[in-house]
C-alpha cells in the first residue's frame, strides 16, 4: 500500500468509525445517566432492539425518518418505564429484571418482525449524508469527518448537552447525588424514586435512539438481533469512560474504530486472517477494556441498589 492509498484507507476508516460508534454513543451516554442515579440497566440490548424495531416499523409506515427516530426513542422509553416500575417501585433485582427485558426485547421484536415484515423484505430510505459546502470537499478531512448523516452529527450535540445537564444543572447534581447518597437527597426533601425514573427514562430513550439509528441511519432493514451485543458493549464503554458523557463519546469512538477495522479488513483481499478473528475483535476488546480499567474506581457508590426509605 503506498502513502496515498493508505491515507484514503485511513480517511474511510475514520468516517466509518464515527458512523459505527453512533449507536454506542447514544446508548452509553444514556446508561451514564441511569448508572449515575444508581440504576444498572443490563436490559440495554433489549431496549436498543425495541428502538430499532419501532424506528423501522414507523418509518416504513410514515416514510419519515424523523418520526421513525421519535418512535425509537418512545419505544425505548416505554421499555424503560417497565424497567423502572420493576426496579424502582417494586425494588426487584436490577440484573434479573434487565435479563428479563433482554429476552422480552429479543422475543417481541422477532415475533412482530416475523408476523408482519419478514415476507415483504422491504427496505426503507435511510438518512443520507449531508453535503456541507467546502468542508465535505476537503481532501482526507472531508471523507473522514464531513460526509455523515445528521444523526451521526447529532452525537456531538447529545454529548455536550448530556455533560451540561449532568454537571451544570441542579437536576444533574441531584441526579448524581441520588447515585452516591440517596438518603441525603431524601432528607433534603427531593424525591429519590422520581429522579431514578427520570434517569432511567433518559437512558432508555437514548438507547432506543441508538437502536433506531441502526435501522434508519445505517442499514435499511430490521434484522433479528440487529444490535448484536452493542447494548452489552455499551455497558463496558460506561465503565471505561468512568461514568462521564464525554468519556463515553470517545470510548465509543474507539469501539467504532474496532468495528470499522473489522469491516474494512474483511473487504481487503490482502488480509489473510480468517474473517472470524476480525468479527470477534469488538468483543475481545471489550474484555481487554475491562482488564485495563481494573475495578470500579469511580462507580456510583449505590449502583445497583434499590433505595429503601426509612
Amino acid at each position: 500500500m503506498d502513502d496515498m492509498m493508505f491515507l484514503t484507507f485511513l480517511a474511510t476508516l475514520m468516517g466509518a468509525a464515527w458512523r459505527l460508534a453512533t449507536p454506542l454513543i447514544f446508548a452509553s451516554i444514556g446508561e451514564v445517566f441511569s448508572e449515575r442515579a444508581g440504576v444498572l440497566n443490563i436490559g440495554l440490548e433489549g431496549t436498543m432492539l425495541v428502538g430499532a424495531f419501532c424506528g423501522f416499523a414507523t418509518a416504513s409506515a410514515t416514510g419519515s425518518i424523523l418520526i421513525g427516530l421519535l418512535a425509537g426513542i418512545l419505544g425505548g422509553m416505554a421499555f424503560g418505564l417497565l424497567f423502572a416500575l420493576f426496579t424502582i417501585t417494586i425494588k426487584a433485582d436490577q440484573i434479573v429484571v434487565g435479563a428479563a427485558l433482554n429476552l422480552l426485547g429479543m422475543g417481541l421484536t422477532a415475533f412482530l418482525f416475523r408476523t408482519y415484515y419478514v415476507s415483504t423484505g422491504k427496505g426503507i430510505e435511510i438518512a443520507q449524508p449531508v453535503h456541507i459546502p467546502f468542508l465535505s470537499d476537503l481532501p482526507f478531512l472531508g471523507e473522514a469527518f464531513f460526509r455523515q448523516n445528521l444523526i451521526v452529527y447529532s452525537t456531538i450535540l447529545v454529548t455536550i448537552l448530556a455533560a451540561l445537564v449532568l454537571y451544570r444543572t441542579s437536576f444533574g447534581l441531584t441526579l448524581r447525588a441520588v447515585g452516591e447518597h440517596p438518603k441525603a437527597v431524601d432528607v433534603a426533601g427531593r424525591n429519590v424514586a422520581g429522579y431514578r425514573y427520570a434517569a432511567v427514562l433518559v437512558g432508555t430513550g437514548l438507547a432506543g435512539l441508538g437502536g433506531a439509528f441502526l435501522t434508519l441511519g445505517h442499514s435499511n432493514q430490521f434484522v433479528e438481533g440487529i444490535t448484536s451485543g452493542r447494548g452489552f458493549i455499551a455497558l463496558a464503554v460506561v465503565v471505561f469512560a468512568r461514568w462521564s458523557p464525554t468519556g463515553a463519546f470517545f470510548v465509543s469512538l474507539l469501539f467504532g474504530l474496532f468495528y470499522a477495522l473489522q469491516l474494512m479488513l474483511q473487504a481487503e483481499a490482502s488480509v489473510v486472517v480468517p474473517y472470524q478473528v476480525l468479527q470477534a475483535l469488538p468483543y475481545i476488546m471489550t474484555i481487554v477494556t475491562l482488564i485495563v480499567v481494573r475495578g470500579k474506581g469511580a462507580a456510583p457508590s449505590k449502583l445497583g441498589q434499590p433505595y429503601e426509605m426509612r
Partner: protein
Amino acid sequence: MEQVNQGVRETVYPQAAHTFYRKLSQIALSAVTPIAAVSVALACGAVLLWLNGFNGLDAITVMVFGSFQDMRAVGEILLKATPLILIGAGLCVAFRCSIWNIGAEGQLYAGAIAATLVGTSLDGLSVWIHAPLVMLAGALAGAAWAGIAGYLKVRFRASEIVTTIMLNYIALILTSYLVTGPMKDASAAYPQSARLVREAWTPRIVSDMRLHIGILIAVVLAVALYIFLQRSSRGFALRVVGLNPHAARYAGMDVARNVMVAICISGAMAGLAGAFEVAGVTHRLYQNISPGYGFEGIAVALLANNNPLAAILSGGLFATLRSGSEVLQITSQVPQVLVLVIQGIVILSVVAFAKLRDILRIVA
C-alpha cells in the same frame, strides 16, 4: 426403660408428623409463585397473539398441551429438557453465590467443541470409555470457558455480566470458524464437522427414540447440586458469599475461591449440555447447535428460585413450552420466538409475585 422409650416414641412421632406436614405446606406454598407466574406469562402471551390476529386461547392451549401426542413426542420434550435442566441447575449454584453468569450459551458451545474434538479424533475405544470421555471433555471445556470470566472477576474485578456475554459471542464465532475451517467435513457442502465415531455417541434409552441417557444424568446431577448447596460446607460457603461477601471474608472464607468454584460448576453443567447436544442428538458440530438453551437456562433457574431440585421441574416446563411452540409454528404459523416473550414475562412475574408475598407476609 421400656416406659421411657414408649414416652419418647409418643412425643417424637406426632412431632415428626407435624414437621412433615409443615414441610409439605411449605413446598405447596413455594409452588404458588411459579405457578402464578407461568399462568400470567401464558395469559400475556395469549393477549399478544390475540392483538396480532391469532386465536390466542387456542394457540396457548397448543403451546402447553400440543406436544403430548405420543411417547415419542414426550421423548422429544425430555430431549429438550436435558440441556435446560443441566444449565438451569448449574446456574442455580452460580446465582446463589451472586455470580451473574449470563454466558451459559457460550459455555455450551465450548463444551460442544471439546466433545466434538474428543468424539472425532480417538478411535477404537469401547463405548464405556469413549462416551463418558466425551461428556468429561464437554464439562471441562465449559468449566474452563466460564473460568475465564471467573478469573477476570476475582483478579481484575471485571464484571462477569459483561465478560460472560462477550465470551458467548466469541464462542459462537469460534464455532463458526471451526466448522467452516479446520474442523469442516470436507465432503459436506454445509458447514459441519465430521461425524462422531459411534462409540462416542451418548447411549439412547430406547433404541428407536432419540432420547438418550443425558436426561437421567441431568436429573441425578441436579439432585447432587441440591445436596451440595444445602448440605455441604462448600455449598454453605457459596451461599454466604452470595448473601454477603464482606461477612464471608470476615468469617475467614476465601471469597475468590468460592466465586471460582461456583462459576466453574455452572460452566461445567453448560459444557456437559453442549456435549450431549453433539454426542446425543446431532452427532456433528454445527454453527447453530443451540437454539438459545443457555439463555433459557437463566429463566429456568429463576423460576426455580435458584433451587437445583426445582430446576428439574421448571426445565421440564420450559421444554414443554418450547416443543409446543414448534407444534404451534407448524399448525398456525405463530412465530416460534414467542417462547422468548413468555420466558421474559415469566421472570418478571416471578419477581413481582415474590415481592407481593413479602408484602403480604409483612401485613399478616
